[in-house]
C-alpha cells in the first residue's frame, strides 16, 4: 500500500495540489473492469462473431529482400472453404505513409504498402490475403499460394546497412538512413572534453524486442448498410488514427469508417501504430460485403508484427575530478527494420533518445547525432519507454564507470549531479518540472543499506560468491502536449484530449475519453476523477472510449499520456457540467450561481447546506421540464472540455535499486532484491500505479536478461515461438517493493503525472549495474543486453563480452 508523504522530503507531500483529498482520487478503488474479465465475459476481438463472418490470413514473404516475380493464387481458390484471395494489385489500396516535417537528409519519406507490390523487405511481409469460411480453411489456403521471388542480399544489421556498398532497403533512402538528426550540439564541446579530468565511454547494443501483448493483433471488419459505414473492430491503442489511415487507403470519407475497440489484451506500444493487416482485412470486408475476421497467430506476432529497441550507442562523457559531469557526446543508431510506422515514423526511437538523453543530470554540454536505419527486418513501433530504457542504461553506465575510475561511490556521484532546483532548463532546451530525483535516490539507497545488503555483499565476496548492487536514477517525460510533440516535427501532432460528460435523466453520467485503455484501468481511474468532481458514486459514472463515432477525436493511449492529459480533460469537462448544474439550481433559488456548491449528488446553497436540489431533480428540469429553464441555459446536461499542455510536459521520476547474485556454474543472474522508489505525482489509484510499476519492471528485466528477436544471415527470424523467444515467468521475475513519493504536477488538472512506462525504463540499467558490481573482482564490465548466461559465465572467468 501507499506510504504517506515522506517526512523531510522537499516537494513531497505538497498540500496545495488540485484534486488531492478526494473521496475516491488517491484511493485503491476496486476496478470496474474486473468482474467481466474475471468471469470470462470480456469481449476481445477474437470473441466477436458476426453472421456470415469469413476468416482471413496472409500469404507472407519467405525472403527478407526480394523482387516479387509472380504471385499465383490459382490453387488457393481451389482449396475447400476458401472464398477469395487478393493481392496488392487486386485491392489497389493507397500506401501507409508516415511523415516528419524535416528536410532530407534529416528525414527520408518512405511508403509502406498494405500488401507488398513488387518488393518484399522482410520475412513475414504480407503479400496476399486469403479469405475463407473458417480459420482452418484460411490456413489451408496459404499452403496453396505460390509466390516466386528474385532474391537479393538482405541487410540484417544497422552496421551492414550503413556500409558503403550496402544493398538499399528503399531505393530513395541513401545509406539506408531514414532519419539523421543532430538535435543538440553545444558550442565548444570538443574543448570541454579535451580539458576534462576524466572521459569515459560506453559502447553498447541493446537487443531487438517484441512488446508482446499476450493478445495478438486482430480485426473484424464489416460493412454496415444502414450507416453506410465500414466498421472496423480492432484492438488498437489509437482508434482515430486507424480510422484516418483506413479511410485514406480505401479512399473513403472519414465518416464512412468507424473504428471500435473491444477489450484489449495489452498493447505496450505495438498497437499504437496502424498495421497493414487491419487495413487489408477492412478492404476485404468492403470488397466482399461480408464480415471478415483476422487474428494474428503467435508466429506472425513474433516475426512479422512491430518490434523495437535494437539500438547502438557510442557515447562519451567528460567529468571533472570531483565526479561532476561536464558533457555528453552521443551517437545513436536505431535499427528500425523495413518500414516507417504511422503516425510516429522511423524517427520515434532516435528522436526520443536525442531529445531526452541527459535525463535527471545537470549536463552542461551535449552533442548528439541520432539515426534511424532501415534493414530487412520486421518494422518497429513505439514500445513502452521508447529509447528511454536504452539511454538511461547508457547514462547510468557512464556514471558507474566514472565512479569506478574516480574512486567514488556510485550513489555519491549521482547525488553530485542530479537536478535539485526546479524548474530546470537543461542543455537539451527542455524545462523539467519539479521532481524528487535526489530524494528517490537517497531513499532507495537507504533502503538497501538498512536491509544490510552492503554487508551481505562483503560477506558473499569473502565466500567467493558474486553479489552486486546496482541503481538506476531517471525521469520520464509524460503528458506530452501538442507543443512538446510539435518539437519532434511529426506531420501529425498528437497532444490534446477532448472529453464530454453527459448526465442522463436519472442523474448518472457518461464520460468520453480520447485515450484508450488496454489494461491501464481507465474505466476505474477516469470514473474516480469524475465521481469526485461531481460528488457521485463511482457506479454512477460510465466511461466510453475506443469508438470513433462516440468520441469526437482522440490520440489514444501512448507516452504515459492518459491520466495526465486525458484525465485532465475528463476533470475539466466534469467541472463544466457541475457549473451548469449549479446555474440551474441557482435559478430556482433566484441567487447568483457563485453562491452555490456541489455536494454529494446534489447542489446546495453556500452557507446553508440544508437547502439542496438533487441531480435527478435538476436533470428532470434540464430534460423533461425544460420550459422552466431560464432563457440563457440550454436544455440538456452535457459539457465538453479539452486539455492540452503548453509547456514541455511533466516528468515522473524514480530510482530502482537491485541486488543480484551471479551463479558461477551457470552464469545465471538471480535477482535477490528489487526496490523501486517512484514519484508520479498524485496517484489517482495507488494500486493501479503499483501494478503499472511492477508490470513495467518485469518487461524491463525481460529486456535486460531474456528476450531477443534474432535473425540468421539471410534475414530469417529465428525466434518465432515462445520456445526461442524467452518471455520471463514468475520463476524469473522477483517480488518488487515499491515506495511512493509524491511531487504533484502543477498543471495537470489532477496533479497526476504519467505512470505507464517508468518501470520498464529503470529496470535494464539497474540490473546491468548490479551485474557489473557483482563482476567487479573480475575486472570485466558488460554493456550489452540481453545479458545471456553465456556472457555472464564468460565474464566470471575474466573473459570480455564477445565482439559484436
Amino acid at each position: 500500500m501507499r506510504d504517506g508523504p515522506m517526512p523531510g522530503v522537499p516537494g513531497a507531500g505538497v498540500p496545495a495540489a488540485p484534486g488531492r483529498g478526494g473521496r475516491l482520487v488517491g484511493r485503491s478503488v476496486p476496478r470496474r473492469e474486473d468482474p467481466r474479465l474475471l468471469t470470462g465475459r470480456g469481449r476481445f476481438v477474437d470473441d466477436i462473431a458476426l453472421p456470415g463472418m469469413l476468416h482471413a490470413q496472409f500469404v507472407r514473404s519467405t525472403v527478407a529482400n526480394g523482387v516479387i516475380e509472380a504471385i499465383d493464387l490459382t490453387a488457393v481458390h481451389e482449396v475447400p472453404g476458401v472464398v477469395a484471395a487478393f493481392t496488392a494489385g487486386d485491392l489497389a489500396l493507397s500506401d501507409i505513409v508516415a511523415q516528419l516535417e524535416r528536410p532530407e537528409p534529416e528525414f527520408v519519406e518512405t511508403a509502406m504498402p498494405v500488401l507488398a507490390r513488387d518488393r518484399v523487405r522482410y520475412v513475414g511481409e504480407p503479400v496476399a490475403i486469403v479469405i475463407a469460411r473458417d480459420a482452418y480453411a484460411a490456413e489451408d489456403g496459404l499452403e496453396a499460394a505460390r509466390v516466386s521471388y528474385t532474391v537479393r542480399q538482405p541487410v540484417t544489421s544497422a552496421a551492414a546497412a550503413l556500409a558503403a556498398d550496402a544493398p538499399l532497403v528503399h531505393e530513395e533512402a541513401a545509406h539506408n538512413t531514414l532519419v539523421d538528426v543532430s538535435l543538440c550540439a553545444t558550442d565548444g564541446i570538443d574543448e570541454v572534453f579535451a580539458a576534462a579530468d576524466r572521459v569515459v565511454r560506453v559502447d553498447t547494443r541493446t537487443g531487438r524486442q517484441n512488446a508482446l501483448p499476450l493478445e495478438t493483433r486482430g480485426a473484424v471488419a464489416h460493412w454496415d448498410d444502414r450507416e453506410e459505414q465500414l466498421v472496423v473492430q480492432t484492438c488498437t491503442q489509437v482508434p482515430h488514427q486507424v480510422r484516418t489511415v483506413a479511410a485514406r487507403c480505401l479512399r473513403l470519407a472519414e465518416r464512412a469508417v468507424r473504428v471500435v475497440v473491444p477489450d484489449m489484451g495489452g498493447g505496450f506500444g505495438q498497437k499504437s501504430v496502424v498495421g497493414r493487416e487491419e487495413i487489408a482485412t477492412a478492404a476485404a470486408a468492403l470488397r466482399l460485403r461480408r464480415p471478415v475476421k483476422w487474428i494474428e497467430d503467435r508466429k506472425d506476432a513474433l516475426s512479422a508484427s512491430f518490434l523495437a529497441r535494437e539500438q547502438h550507442y557510442d557515447v562519451r562523457a567528460a567529468f571533472d575530478a570531483d565526479g561532476r559531469i561536464l558533457g555528453i557526446d552521443a551517437d545513436v543508431v536505431c535499427d528500425m527494420g523495413a518500414y516507417s510506422c504511422y503516425p510516429f515514423t522511423a524517427g520515434i526511437e532516435p528522436l526520443m533518445a536525442s531529445a531526452e538523453l541527459p535525463g535527471v543530470y545537470k549536463v552542461p554540454a551535449y552533442r548528439v547525432r541520432g539515426r534511424a536505419v532501415a534493414t530487412n527486418k520486421a518494422p518497429t513501433a513505439p514500445y513502452r519507454g521508447v529509447s528511454r530504457p536504452q539511454y538511461v542504461m547508457v547514462v547510468e553506465r557512464l556514471f558507474e564507470r566514472a565512479a569506478r575510475e574516480l574512486g567514488l561511490d556510485p550513489v555519491e556521484i549521482r547525488r553530485r549531479n542530479v537536478i535539485t532546483d526546479f524548474p530546470y532548463t537543461g542543455v537539451n532546451g527542455i524545462t523539467y518540472d519539479p521532481g524528487s530525483y535526489l530524494e528517490s535516490l537517497d531513499l532507495c539507497a537507504r533502503t538497501l543499506r538498512d536491509e544490510g545488503w552492503y554487508e551481505r555483499r562483503t560477506a558473499a565476496a569473502e565466500e567467493g560468491r558474486h553479489l552486486g548492487i546496482g541503481y538506476a536514477c531517471f525521469s520520464e517525460r509524460t503528458g506530452y502536449g501538442s507543443a512538446a510533440f510539435a518539437q519532434r516535427r511529426m506531420a501529425v501532432v498528437p497532444g490534446f484530449d477532448i472529453s464530454e460528460v453527459r448526465m442522463d435523466t436519472s442523474g448518472a453520467v457518461t464520460v468520453t475519453t480520447g485515450t484508450m485503455s488496454h489494461g491501464q484501468s481507465h474505466e476505474t481511474t477516469m470514473a474516480q476523477i469524475v465521481a469526485d468532481e461531481l460528488g457521485l458514486d463511482i457506479g454512477a459514472v460510465r466511461l466510453h472510449q475506443g469508438d470513433t463515432d462516440r468520441i469526437t477525436y482522440g490520440w489514444g493511449t501512448f507516452a504515459s499520456r492518459s491520466i495526465t492529459v486525458g484525465g485532465s480533460a475528463v476533470r475539466l469537462a466534469a467541472g463544466k457540467l457541475g457549473e451548469k448544474l449549479r446555474r440551474i439550481a441557482a435559478d430556482r433559488w433566484g441567487i447568483p450561481w457563485e453562491e452555490t456548491a456541489l455536494g454529494r449528488g446534489r447542489v446546495h446553497r453556500r452557507g446553508d447546506p440544508a437547502v439542496t436540489i438533487g441531480y435527478p431533480e435538476l436533470a428532470d428540469l434540464a430534460y423533461l421540464r425544460a420550459h422552466l429553464l431560464p432563457k440563457d441555459i440550454e436544455p440538456g446536461l452535457s459539457a465538453t472540455a479539452t486539455f492540452d499542455v503548453f509547456n514541455d510536459g511533466t516528468f515522473s521520476n524514480a530510482t530502482h535499486g537491485v541486488v543480484v547474485e551471479l551463479d558461477e556454474g551457470t552464469g545465471r543472474v538471480e535477482i535477490l532484491r528489487y526496490v523501486c522508489v517512484e514519484d508520479c505525482g498524485v496517484a489517482i489509484n495507488p494500486q493501479v500505479v503499483e501494478g503499472q510499476c511492477r508490470g513495467g519492471i518485469a518487461q524491463g528485466i525481460a529486456g535486460a536478461l531474456f528476450e531477443q528477436v534474432t535473425y540468421d544471415a539471410q534475414g530469417e527470424p529465428s525466434a518465432t515461438s515462445f520456445l526461442d523467444y524467452k518471455v520471463p515467468t514468475a520463476h524469473e521475475i522477483p517480488e518488487v517493493t515499491i515506495h511512493h513519493l509524491e511531487t504533484p504536477c502543477a498543471f495537470s488538472a489532477t496533479g497526476a503525472k504519467g505512470a505507464g512506462e517508468g518501470g520498464t525504463i529503470g529496470a535494464p540499467a539497474a540490473v546491468l549495474n548490479a551485474v557489473n558490481d557483482a563482476l567487479r573482482a573480475t575486472g570485466v564490465e558488460l554493456d550489452r543486453t540481453p545479458l545471456t548466461p553465456e556472457t555472464v559465465h564468460r565474464a566470471l572467468r575474466g573473459l570480455p563480452e564477445p565482439a559484436a
Partner: protein, 192 residues
C-alpha cells in the same frame, strides 16, 4: 540470384460455396460427431477432427472466456480443467476430450446470473491480479486446479505453479499474492 517458391500443398477436394453461416462446416471435409461435457452440460458438436479443444469451446460453444495466446502450449491462456486437472486446451483436439468433465472460467462464478465472484476471483480483484485480463482465465483455472489438489500449498509452491503461464501486465507478484491469500482464507475456513 535464385528463385524460391513457397510450399505448394493443394487439397484436391473442391469446395462448394454454401450458406454464409459462421463456422458451419466446410462441405467436402471429413466430419465427426463428438460429445463434450462442459461446465456440467452436455454438448454435441459436428466438427472436423483437426479442430482443437480451445477452438471448439470458443467458436462452437461460444464459451469465449478461455483465450488463445500462443497455440503451442507455452503461455497457458487457454488453460481449462479436464477432470479437475489443468490442461492446455490449444494442445489437444476436441475429440480427445470426449468422456472427460471439462471446466472453463465460465464455471467459476455463482449466482442466478453467474455474476457472483468466487473467492479465487475476488482475491484476484482485491490484489489487482489482472490488468488487461487476457491471461486471467488461464491463471484462474490453473489456480483452481492446483489449490484443489494441494490446499496446503506454500507461497513458494504457488509461485512455481504460476510460472507455468505467461502474464505480460502484472509482473506476477499480485497473481501469486491473490492465489496465496485465497488458499490461506480457505484453510482458515476449514479450521473453523
Amino acid at each position: 540470384m535464385t528463385d524460391t517458391d513457397t510450399d505448394a500443398g493443394t487439397d484436391s477436394d473442391t469446395g462448394a460455396d454454401s450458406l454464409p453461416v459462421d463456422s458451419s462446416p466446410v462441405i467436402g471435409r471429413e466430419l465427426q460427431l463428438i460429445t463434450l461435457e462442459v461446465n456440467g452440460e452436455e454438448y454435441e458438436v459436428i466438427t472436423e477432427p483437426r479442430r482443437t479443444l480451445v477452438d471448439i469451446l470458443r467458436h462452437e460453444l461460444r464459451l469465449t472466456g478461455t483465450h488463445v495466446g500462443c497455440e503451442h502450449g507455452v503461455c497457458g491462456a487457454c488453460t481449462v480443467l479436464l477432470d479437475g486437472r489443468p490442461v492446455r486446451a490449444c494442445l489437444m483436439f476436441a475429440a480427445q476430450a470426449e468422456g472427460a468433465a471439462i471446466r472453463t472460467v465460465e464455471s467459476l462464478s455463482d449466482g442466478a446470473d453467474g455474476s457472483e465472484l468466487s473467492d479465487l476471483q475476488r482475491a484476484f480483484r482485491s490484489h489487482h491480479g489482472l490488468q488487461c485480463g487476457f491471461c486471467t482465465p488461464g491463471f484462474l483455472m490453473l489456480a483452481e486446479g492446483f489449490l484443489a489438489e494441494r490446499p496446503q500449498a506454500t507461497k513458494a509452491e504457488i509461485r512455481e505453479v504460476v510460472a507455468a503461464n505467461l502474464c505480460r501486465c502484472t509482473g506476477y507478484q499480485s497473481i501469486v499474492e491473490a492465489i496465496d491469500s485465497c488458499a490461506a482464507a480457505r484453510r482458515e475456513g476449514e479450521e473453523k
